[in-house]
Symmetry: none
Subunit: 199 residues, 4 copies
DNA sequence: CATGAATGAGCCTTCATTCAT
DNA sequence: GATGAATGAAGGCTCATTCAT
């Protein structure tokens, strides 16, 4: 039954996720993974070509989910304000992250440098994300919603800031309440960290 | 001949830095390192206990340098404004990073998850950095220089943002002009990304 | 349903023959075989004890067929000349070989060294063949049809020569016209390769 | 010292030769090989890239030696008769074979089908050998030394016959006296197996 | 009869580390 | 100090074979 197969594959994916989170990709062994599901080593290879394949499956599906969270700002009259749409995007991303802490750690701390092929895919993904955000920012600048100035550093800081916040949230360094996280980011985007500089 | 020893050790450290940057800690082999210095494999072990030791030496010295960059805000009358002191701190960090791109990549992309012992040390370092910044922020809030509100998320975003910016700078995604990088961060801290929300 | 069984078994035998020819015994997998018949892996084991069993079945049936091709020289008066009987033997062997090129390749290139048990059986078969030929040669020598001298090397060369010719025929290195092959061998047996040595 | 290395490599080559002869390439394990020399498994990989590499080294050096045995027939006046030169070629080949029985078994029974790359090299070698012999035969035919007729089958039979004889010689099925082996082949080449057919 | 998921022994290969020279 | 040959633990992967359905 393909049902059985699907279940087994899911078990292996989850076991792999846990193992990768705990030990990192390289230290993780196929034995660790199958040990968690209590199946033989060979079984693993019935479902994945090799160790890298599970890792890729995990990261890619997470990246796909992340991609789903982010939708273009709708500028048609009657649509919610860009600010609210941005907040909605943020909220979806934060919810995704908070709902799958292990994947956040895996994707953000161990995914790069694991394999040339995967690195390439991740780079492409990050590149697309960055480009998408860049276009959004450009539109925002035209509309006077986003402060003017070179967008490159803004993007790097904003994306890095999100990564930092999410990582700290899932690792318990900051409270992982979705509303609070979203508002924190919004405040940072809106007013930065320092109080209004005089003049 | 302690001079000779020191030079050899330095050669090995630099070779290791280059190799770690190129291949990541795990994929890097002791052979790669000694091959660059054109020295026998056994020689490596005359200078370092094991592979992890070089890595730690590199990361720790970088962390130490980083620690030197950051000095407490001097509130005595007559000292430069806190804003200028913050900017000076930032500038030192950015200069350090831009001056040693390889270490930035190593410390920020491959350092975590490599080894339990190293992870611990890094955590401690990050924890101290975070705590120091937290106290700084607290002072800032008391003085009305830093916007009020929970500091945890602010810290996570700010530190993550710095990481993101520095990584993108050393990898060429954004221009690595020190002044521009410093000003970008300052603007982000001062006004965020979005323009003044109306009302 | 013993008919159905027989058909299935035949399908598997033919699939195995093709796979063994292409990849050799060791590289061939049970999966390759069942994949060709589009049958599940377990099914294979309903018809054969193990991988070696199919191989043996193939080789043994080929050896049996080969054995059928070779009949003792009939010396009764009125029988065809020994030369013609030899030619007839040869023709049957050549026809068998040309009609089943895959088995020729399998039996002559990959059969030895595969498995101790099979090696034993092959050795026995070759031994019997050799012994039979030896007796035939002896008779021939007594009748003055076969040149005198030690028969061992003659046998080795003649049998090896046949193998070489048949292998080259089925692999396309020499033309595989039955008549031509038979006559080539006859000429070799009758006059060797070199022209009449002078004096 | 490179001396030590050379000795070790030689030991491993000889151990590998023995193992390949006994078990065949595929059944042979690197463990079998190092076990014979009583070194650790890793040591093997200091001298050869992988299991295939030793095998290739063995086969190629044997093929090279074989190539050395065969020299073109010298037709200049005053040179020994072509027949004697042929005999000398034969003798060198036989001596090589008798002096290294294991390699004969390896090269003639297990070398094909082991690896695509090696197969290619062997095919090229056999092809060259065949072509060389073909040219020699052609010259012989022009000079009236070699019987006329299509050379393809003659070559297949002669080469196959040699293989058969050498294999049987090294495996003890026929006496391995060099002179006798050479003369057996010469007789076969000169007069075939059957006695002079009448008329 | 047929299926195909599961098993697990076994092999190849890598590489950090040691140590005799 | 320096060398580099040797070690051997460890892990990825394959595939013949079994067995519950």
């Amino acid at each position: 039954m393909s049902d059985r197969r699907a279940r087994r594959k899911q078990q292996l994916l989850e076991a792999a996720k846990a193992v990768f989170e705990e030990k990192g990709y390289v230290a993780a062994t196929v034995d660790d993974i199958v040990g968690r599901v209590d199946v033989a080593r060979g079984t693993f290879y019935l479902y994945f070509d090799d160790k890298l394949a599970v890792f890729e499956a995990l990261v890619e599906s997470f990246m796909a989910a992340l991609g789903q969270c982010i939708v273009s700002i709708d500028l048609t009259p009657g649509a919610p304000s860009p600010r609210d749409q941005l907040r909605a995007n943020l909220r979806r991303v934060v919810e995704l992250a908070v709902g799958d802490p292990a994947m956040v750690k895996i994707a953000l701390s161990t995914a790069m440098g694991v394999d040339a092929g995967l690195d390439e895919k991740l780079s492409v993904f990050y590149g697309l994300l960055r480009q998408f955000m860049d276009e959004t920012l450009e539109t925002g600048q035209r509309l006077g919603i986003v402060r003017s100035g070179p967008r490159g550093p803004m993007l790097s800081i904003a994306l890095g800031g999100m990564e930092g916040l999410l990582l700290d949230a899932v690792s318990g360094a900051v409270d992982s309440d979705v509303d609070e996280l979203v508002e924190s980011v919004m405040r940072f985007l809106e007013s930065g960290l320092l109080d209004r500089p005089r003049a």
